[in-house]
């Protein structure tokens, strides 16, 4: 989740959207107003923020206002959250490499991993 959050914050529009939401919940129309980009583009940015767990959608009749999840943003902001995210990203990449090695080992059961003494 934290990895996604960092990606979410890498874009200036999304940071501006978070800034706006920090002032209170807002609809997509309200959020799109100050920007020169289309409403669907804003919706896409909001989707990234929501998938990263930084904002959520409230269902209010036909309206779908977005709001900040302050605890998620706060966690990201703490230094330990940042540091943790770096490691999380590295270990997820290790998982991918490990799975690939396991696949190779299954295909070529040649030299075993235990070296002969």
């Amino acid at each position: 989740m934290l990895d996604l959050s960092f990606a979410a914050l890498s874009d200036p529009v999304r940071r501006a959207l978070l800034e706006r939401l920090a002032a209170g919940e807002a609809t997509v129309q309200e959020l799109a107003r100050p920007f020169s980009i289309s409403q669907p583009a804003i919706s896409r940015h909001l989707k990234v923020l929501e998938e990263a767990g930084l904002i959520e959608t409230r269902i209010d009749g036909t309206a779908r206002p977005r709001r900040l999840k302050p605890e998620a943003v706060a966690e990201l902001w703490t230094w330990l959250g940042r540091y943790r995210a770096l490691w999380e990203e590295r270990f997820e990449k290790m998982d991918v490499l490990l799975d690939r090695l396991a696949e190779q080992d299954r295909q070529e059961p040649g030299p075993s991993e235990e070296s002969p003494s």
Binding site: W77, L86, F91, K93, L97, A102
Partner: protein
Amino acid sequence: MTAPSQLQIVQDGDTDIVVRRSFPHPPARVWRVLTDPALIPGWMTSLDPMTRCEIDLRPGGSFYYEWSGADGNAFAFSGPILAVDAPHHLAHVEYFNGDTTTGTTVTTDLRPHPAGTRMTIVMRYASAEARAAAIESGMTDGFDQVYDQLAALLAEP
């Protein structure tokens, strides 16, 4: 989203950071990913890619890792290898950008357990200040700016 591999990062005492993580693979395979210079750049990323990776894996050997970005910024960690007991134990010292006045002693232990491997990394910094600085530098300037903005926002009533 595999719960058993759950990452734990804690500060221990004044100078240590302890990282714990499990992998659903035997220690020998985890060891390979941790120590093979052909594999290390595939995971030991920073915001910039690792562009140089050399490791002479034996007690008395040494390593050199360098990252560099398109903007020309580069940084490196290097240092001596203290102990090697494949595939369970590795100890080395890390110097940042060749500064040997303050080093971090890193011990990595891999223990077999029913689901695979439990890894424990202990990073012992020269001082509490060095530890704080290392954590701070975990992310780079671009992000600091973002966080400063967010911090200001969150501080508002």
